[in-house]
Point group: C2
Chain length 218, copies 2
């Protein structure tokens, strides 16, 4: 059954692989599942055809036969549960890995998104400087705890899993913030993820989409 995902026609991150389709592409590459991509403009994301697939008008979505899913975390979990390579076989280890998937998206991602979005969109606001210190501090609290947990381990809990895949995509949002520099084990961890062949294929695929969009505009 063919898998089709949606992605930005022209990603606002300019092909840096920070859009959430990157997670799904990476997961599909890890398990070796081919997929088609339907590209959407910002306008098309808010049209009824797409809202029927994704009530919040975002990307990515995932279609496979009669099944349509949204939410990148849920899509990655769906892929991981049905194909070998992204979750451990042992039931307890599997539950813990799923726990780390939620931790990536619920404990790490919200303060990181808030911090990086303010850097992008609130620089002109009178409150920017005072508030950013507070947001940076909140991110540091989580990075310090994550760094303490990871220690010298290669991955979050045993072998590479969907939890590492999500955590690394979340941490990559900080790559230009300067906040990661204090945590050498976290930058090494991100680099280990980025070195995986599946990551590199996924990254190249999303970059190619962005580059075509620029040619089309040019």
């Amino acid at each position: 059954m063919t898998v089709t995902i949606t992605a930005f026609e022209s990603s606002p991150d300019r092909g840096r692989g920070l859009a959430r389709d990157m997670r799904v592409r990476w997961a599909l590459e890890e398990v070796g599942l081919p997929y088609a991509v339907r590209l959407l403009s910002f306008a098309a994301m808010k049209e009824p055809a797409h809202l029927a697939l994704h009530p919040f008008g975002q990307i990515p979505t995932y279609e496979e036969g009669n099944l349509a899913l949204f939410e990148s975390g849920a899509i990655v979990l769906h892929i991981a549960e049905r194909h070998a390579g992204l979750l451990p076989d042992d039931a307890d280890a599997r539950a813990r890995a799923i726990g780390w998937m939620f931790a990536a998206l619920n404990t790490l991602e919200p303060p990181i998104v808030e911090c990086t979005m303010a850097q992008l969109f609130e620089q002109d606001k009178p409150w920017y400087r005072d508030r950013q210190t507070m947001l940076d501090d909140r991110v540091h609290v989580r990075l310090r705890e994550l760094s303490a947990h990871l220690g010298e381990a290669e991955w979050l809990d045993g072998g590479f899993s969907a939890a590492d895949l999500l955590m690394i995509t979340v941490l990559r949002r900080l790559e230009r913030s300067g906040l990661l520099e204090l945590y050498r084990n976290l930058t090494d961890y991100i680099a280990r993820g980025e070195a995986r062949p599946a990551y590199q294929r996924a990254f190249a695929a999303q970059l190619a989409v962005f580059e075509s969009s620029q040619v089309a505009r040019g």
Copy 2:
């Protein structure tokens, strides 16, 4: 095998059931699983014994034999996968329900937490009023989309599921914000969740903990 969860010794919400142990208590009540609760002070949450269970020093945690989990979403999913009553049997419907669990925690909760936390902790900041308008608007975008999806349906996707359980606990954070009042179908939806006997038992149990903490102090 006995299940043990952790919760605040004295919840900062004063027993309104907004702390994240409420989700786990509710899920356990829905499936009829008895559980023990270990109460933690704020200081104990940051001590090594608890950090070994929860690297981010929060509540709730979940222990069952040799398995220890953290992240309320992951704990609810773990319970839902192992006991009847919180996820549909059909594989596609089950994947969609899990998708809505992620939507509750990743698409709805972050802007709602940001908005309600600013109301609580940034009222004295010079930027409060200007910024709050922006945060309220972001929440309204999501509530409007959720309300449009729900329409006249009773639950998010078919019968009551763990997705409704999480979504309702997320929406309840807005109950004193005034933001829900425009969405009659969402307030009705919350009321349907709160009317469930399992919800009421879970709510009473967490309230009893808060009330004892006040007697102990008094």
